[in-house]
Subunit: 584 residues, 2 copies
């Protein structure tokens, strides 16, 4: 037997027990007469005590040979600590060591195994198995495990079946970013790895499974933006005989269950916001509503006063930063720089300080007198001591810019506490979006998303105005999930394909087996998929998903630890009937 | 709202309730004045009643347009059935239909959606979404879901973390049957899909995760034997600071938990059998111990009596078929044919009938008198009325042959009831097995399997005799799982590689990152992997795994429904830097 207890288990009540622990040497302090060892395992840290004179000299010799991260088995008696450590659950006791066995030695790790390590990103990726020993990463993976358990518990209680869909599926012409998998048994032919189980979950609805879910890996071979992974995990769900409200209620229930069971937070009902309002009031389809600072459109009070920049703008729009009238020139310059950065792209920033004495000081005093500025203040509901920040330009662009500024102000004013959670449903997304490159409309979600019944008649006249039964779950400004009610009616589906510019043949080629399935009694259905990596990071109060994945890849899609992808043997290629043909 | 209740929910207590149901039309019986519809969903079947004169004529007209598998919404009142159906939970009621809405029509399915369908294998694979509507398949997937839920519940209660390991990993030269995945971002380089997460779970032990599990897809690009799939699901587990007994106890506990919670069967403790005994007594490393019929070796009583076949044989071995002395000539000939089939390959079969009158009748009466045969009977413990069946030949071969005969007899005698469950641990597998092709020893499990401590000294002298800390879980003659205690000691690992014929360089090339990880304090560890598809089929009382997988592939690795694998576009290949080079 390697242990009677774990390193997180013993308490003062266990005093005088003979115990055996196994674990890693976290730290050794050798004060000559006394030696302390912090022994670590997944469950915690227990202190071992070795005392010159009292402890066995063989033990003392063995202990002096130990190094950091050695694996040992320690036998001894639980005693009360003289100087207790209130920071750890085992802090009241220590083990009077009577026997020690070195189970394995260790080279000196290339970085410290501490909460705050001295290892750089790349080194830690290469030695991921050592980085994973650090407590913050262990907590992250424990959190991930807990979330998956509770997700399943909830969905099981709601009569969902977890059903595994295949990983070796079929590449579609649209799936330009599919990973493909050559088949040895079917030479010259390829499987594809799923970007999502979308079609399979719809087939399961056709098959009558009623409520499906799956925690499932998905794959996308695309240039990785920061914090994207080529393989990622989704909570993928679908329900039959439901409308949008049923789906929203079910998954709002799930998210509430997760917050309650995992974080002991009781969330109120999630507000629902129309996409158009989200864009108008926050300039984003994923507004962070932990703080207010809504957009106020100022065209009527800001235009036609001779300030050409505003007069030429499609939209003049501002936000109020509470109690920031005392921002210094330097601070304001920094904000201007911020919005002018190429990735934001504003030309400039207009501010109005609402001074405590009732006067206004703005960067456009030349064009706007106190009366005019007072109108701005009234319109934006700015109070004495507040700061109004205004951008102008083309509507869609300026909204995006002001969204960035709003988030920046939220951060500066500490309004974005990662331990506050503000969930939100964004609903009524547009069905179609215009693609400049191909000069045609594309499905904003996918071609099976159903239009709002009352908007179908707009498909011909104003396709861009047609709203979809599509929704996103947004928490703290992050898109956590999204879904839609699907089209189950063949005629409507045909109409959609027509508007998306698919010929019948193209539609059949790409979605044939799903369209065929729909001929045999498809029920009304809809669903949602939640990003499980992102959800876990959110619960962990962090922005980056990478440390919530046991073995992530870097921004080039490489696994630094196993050094993959890599070249493969010539005869392996031969057997697949493949050759490397480098691009010129 | 599409429904107030499901089709499996209503009972006599719900009488007079106004309800709404949605589902598929299973069957319509139109007796002129009365029409009954069986409405089906995942939860059951409810009968709808339409009565000429009483029901609304619009409803009657609509009903007469319905066909099989139409999707409808039905409103009506729960009434008591005149002729009750005790076979279904809703059999006491029916719905007096007041309103009907056709949600979707359906083409006539290419086969009947009944428990016993008229559809052939291929047709059902192509229209899998229709086949999945049949109740037996729905039960199978429901069972699978329940097993996964209970597996996780148990492992969670035992402090295991489910940790996702990557699907895009690295191909190794040994991994000749890896599926490879070209990387667009890293041209000319490939990922591989995991045949198992073996190395990652060992790394998680090095990382201190203590108890890991995962229900995980694994992939193997090999010629598919009957009932193999290119992608399959494992319950993959690993534990640190354990010996073999700890692992066996933990997973015996899991399997007992599954039988108890899912099938309400309380299993006794699983017997453990050494590999050598399994081979000696059953001629198989996965004996079906639902029935006894152990092998009895007969060399001492059967040789040197002038029967050359036996005299030349390395082993003469028999089984006793209870109460089969009355087998006819024809039956015995059939058994002889059975063992002579090429896939079994015995030359002949010797039988001894133990007659009720105390005499013996054998196929080798020429060589063996009653006294001799009486010795056989004594040795095999055959009673009056029993039949002794004897094979002879080279030890390993004849054992395999007799194993097949034993199983056949078990089947003929109805001793292999799929609703009886006889689990068994087979332990002490050989560490190495001789490979005729390469003329060297290979690791029977994998190169990290640890030898029994007491056998290490045999590695040089008798490598084939070295036993491993390796074990299989066998239930009803099926290998459900297997695992081992791993080597965590570098010197022992080096010794193993030497005996497996790996140079240091080769070992480093293939297992480098794992060996490197082992330099930093690897704990003693071991684990197991259970075949989840097989386990589910076993629970479902069936031999084939295919109908316990939602979307399986056929024996050529093809998905008949989506027609995959398939060719991909030229420019997709270009982008990957690949070209098709057909084999000659």
């Amino acid at each position: 037997m390697f242990r009677t207890h774990t390193c997180g288990e013993l308490r003062l009540e266990d005093k005088n027990k003979k115990v055996i622990l196994s674990g890693w040497v976290q730290k050794i302090r050798d004060k000559g007469g006394l030696i302390w060892i912090d022994l670590r395992d997944r469950y915690g840290i227990t202190q071992l005590l070795i005392e010159d004179g009292r402890s066995n000299s063989i033990v003392i010799d063995a202990v002096r040979k130990l190094g950091r991260e050695y694996v040992i088995q320690a036998k001894g008696t639980v005693i009360e600590r003289l100087s207790k450590n209130p920071n750890i659950p085992t802090g009241n006791i220590e083990i009077d060591l009577s026997e020690i066995q070195i189970l394995n030695s260790s080279l000196t790790p290339p970085f410290t195994i501490e909460d705050e390590t001295d290892g750089g990103e790349e080194l830690r990726m290469k030695y991921r198995y050592l980085d994973l020993r650090r407590q913050p990463l262990r907590s992250n993976l424990e959190l991930r495990n807990r979330l998956s358990i509770e997700t399943r518990k909830y969905l099981d209680s709601q009569n969902f079946f977890e059903i595994e869909t295949p990983y070796l599926i079929k590449s579609t012409p649209e799936g330009a970013r599919d990973f493909v998998v050559p088949s040895r048994m079917n030479e010259g032919q390829f499987y594809a790895l799923p970007q999502s189980p979308q079609t399979f979950k719809q087939l399961l609805m056709v098959a009558g499974y009623d409520r499906y879910y799956q925690l499932v890996k998905c794959f996308r071979d695309e240039d990785l933006r920061a914090d994207r992974q080529p393989e990622f995990t989704q909570i993928d769900c679908e329900m039959a005989f439901v409308d949008q409200d049923d789906v929203l209620k079910t998954f709002e229930g799930m998210v509430k269950h997760l917050f309650k069971t995992v974080k002991e937070i009781e969330l109120s009902d999630f507000p629902r916001m129309e996409y158009s309002d989200a864009m108008r009031l926050y300039g984003s389809d994923k507004p962070d509503i932990r703080f207010d600072m809504k957009f106020v459109e100022l065209n009527d009070v800001a235009q036609n006063k001779g300030f050409k920049v505003f007069d030429d703008a499609e939209l003049v729009v501002g936000i109020v930063a509470k109690e920031c009238a005392d921002y210094t020139r330097k601070q304001l310059d920094k904000l201007t720089e911020f919005v002018r950065r190429p990735q934001i792209g504003a030309k400039g920033l207009v501010y109005v300080k609402c001074n405590e004495d009732g006067t206004y000081k703005s960067s456009v005093d030349k064009f706007f007198d106190q009366d005019s500025l007072n109108k701005w203040a009234t319109k934006t509901n700015a109070k004495k001591g507040d700061l109004i920040l205004v951008l102008s330009g083309e509507k869609d662009k300026v909204r995006k810019q002001l969204n960035e500024l709003r988030l920046e102000m939220g951060t500066q004013l500490n309004l974005r506490n990662p331990n506050n959670f503000a969930p939100l449903w964004v609903v009524d997304f547009p069905l179609l979006e215009w693609d400049e490159d191909s000069e045609r409309f594309h499905a904003m979600h996918h071609p099976f998303t159903s239009p709002k019944h009352e908007d179908i008649n707009l498909l011909d006249s104003n396709p861009g105005d047609v709203r979809a039964n599509a929704y996103d779950l947004v928490i703290n400004g992050s898109e956590i999930g999204g879904g839609s009610i699907r089209i189950h009616d063949r005629d409507l589906q045909k109409l959609m394909f027509k508007h998306l510019g698919f010929s019948d043949e193209e539609a059949q080629e790409q979605f044939g087996f799903l369209l065929n399935a729909f001929e045999y009694g498809a029920p009304p259905h809809g669903g949602i998929a939640l990003g499980f990596d992102r959800l876990t990071a959110l619960f962990g109060g962090q922005d980056s998903i990478r440390d919530f994945i046991a073995f992530p890849k870097n921004n080039s899609g490489r696994d630094m630890m196993i050094d993959s992808p890599s070249s493969i043997a010539e005869d392996q290629l031969d057997e697949l009937g493949l050759g490397l043909i480098p691009k010129d």
